[in-house]
Symmetry: none
């Protein structure tokens, strides 16, 4: 646990990234983080004002990674429908790689208290960004049809975590595909 090449701050964030996602925010204690990061306790509080602050940085880092992966899936196609359907392929991929741990942001949402408003604001921002992504990707801006996809996407993530199965993703993908055929999205 000693003499890592990277800086303490990075090690802390990396470790938090792993543990908060795998075990949850409340379940992961400061002690486990510093122990696995190989860092002194005071060092954590030197770089992060509080656990909530570390939580915020965790969400930021997680968002960056998550979003990049999403784009790498959607950027392979030019057509709207293919781009949209590719988002569900991304979910299948991440479910497999991360063993159905679901959405980091929704998971933290369930854990936070009313007084942890910083965390809530960050989560809302990133989810709004995802809504915007779907809206921007879909050509027809009329009537927020993109939210249909957004809601199905969110449900797919949540339900595959719940049932530890890919069926919700596959079903959501099929629903979206059918709706395209039905000209639901004009």
């Amino acid at each position: 646990m000693k003499h890592h090449p990277v800086l303490p701050k990075e090690r802390i964030l990396e470790t938090a990234l792993k543990l908060f996602h795998e075990q949850g925010y409340n379940t992961t204690g400061i002690n486990q983080i510093i122990s696995e990061a190989g860092v002194a306790k005071a060092s954590l509080y030197l770089h992060f004002k509080s656990k909530e602050d570390l939580g915020v940085e965790y969400l930021k880092a997680r968002h960056a990674i998550w979003y990049e992966q999403l784009l790498s899936f959607t950027n392979e196609s030019k057509k709207e429908k293919k781009k949209i359907l590719a988002t569900f392929d991304f979910l299948i991929d991440i479910n497999e790689k991360e063993n159905f741990r679901g959405c980091s942001f929704l998971n933290m949402l369930s854990e936070i208290q009313p007084d942890e408003s910083k965390l809530l604001a960050v989560i809302q921002d990133y989810k709004q960004e995802l809504r915007n992504f779907f809206a921007d990707t879909m050509e027809n801006p009329k009537d927020n049809l993109s939210d249909t996809v957004y809601l199905l996407f969110e449900a797919a993530m949540q339900e595959s975590q719940l049932f530890k199965s890919q069926w919700p993703v596959e079903k959501a993908k099929k629903i979206v595909s059918d709706l395209y055929k039905l000209k639901y999205f004009k």
Copy 2:
């Protein structure tokens, strides 16, 4: 804190019902529960083997209440479409009454660890029951179209908790209504 009229076991469960739902499972300690229930600590462990066991009983009680309320909304109509749309009215009602605390079951899902398998099993059971409810309510059994509604319903709950707003429910309800008009559900 003394001389309550009801039995200790009931007081414990009632208090847990309130606190687990309002504050979350991990955030709510055994001490707060017994203090607010006006009961000795050993009394809790007399009636519930562990906190996880109390959590299971909480989910059972919550399910009973929740499901009854759902049915009271859907039973007001005879027609399928109206029944289905009424489920979203139920969400709007409960969001308002409970200040957007979202779904007890999904919230707990985010908090539990792999070793708390009893809790996961209970959550999965109740969600499967909800899936079955939609399937049974919708006449056309072909192709599990009912899961479209199920997924939108789940997303509506989750997203209204996230944004502290009714728009996801209203949007989901409109989507379902439009799909009926489009003959999506045959």
Copy 3:
């Protein structure tokens, strides 16, 4: 755990006999006893005034069993030396059967507090009885030579528990045998 043929009081004592000896007095809780005996908690306090009282009854019952086994070994011979040496054979036998749990009385001695005087008195009585047994078995009353055997016997029990090995018993037996040859015991 239900509908045993024997009386509750007997079941409690039998269970305590097993558990106190195997696990120790303080380590064994009242709850485990009643659970394994299949008896209500109040039933225990109906038949035994307190845990200490149950402890006293345990020592009595244990003594009866232990002493009977000891006599069954010594009664096989008529000669003093053979009788004495047989006591060590008894130790070897009981060590094997009970997996080196040592002496119930000395074990409890280590656990009791100054205020548990009833237990101490019982232990002292039974150990004095053992001293008397050696004194009565050995013909020559002069100078309490029997205490040499008593002390070696006690040490053999204690040390075989400590080292989880029969060597202390075998060594003690050999020492006594040698002393006989040396005419130490006249």
Copy 4:
């Protein structure tokens, strides 16, 4: 309870040394230790991983003190016989000073469970060291005669704790003295 001069870790160990020896290991709770040491609970767990670990440190510290006292008694003589007999004088002294609390190591032996293997290993080590001390002190290595003394020494400690009396020590000492006269030890 505040502003003690020595470091918390030392105060904890000192207090444990006193309480474990006087009251026993299981009977002495962590709460009493920190209360009498004037230290926060978390401080105990900062310096000692668990109660068992504190128990190990207690045994180490106890051994150091005990052994030093033993040597101070035996080092006063050059001759083997006098050295050996001095060990029993040491027992008489410690019995008096410590009010017949017996041997810390044997007392803990009676309390520990099979899963507390660290403690058992430490106890066995120190007792083996004592065996070696007798073997090294006695010139004639033939036939492990030193174990005769070791066993009598152990019994003397145990039995004086049991009977709250010096007679077992005095008797053991006399036996050893007689054996020297008998040329038992060659």
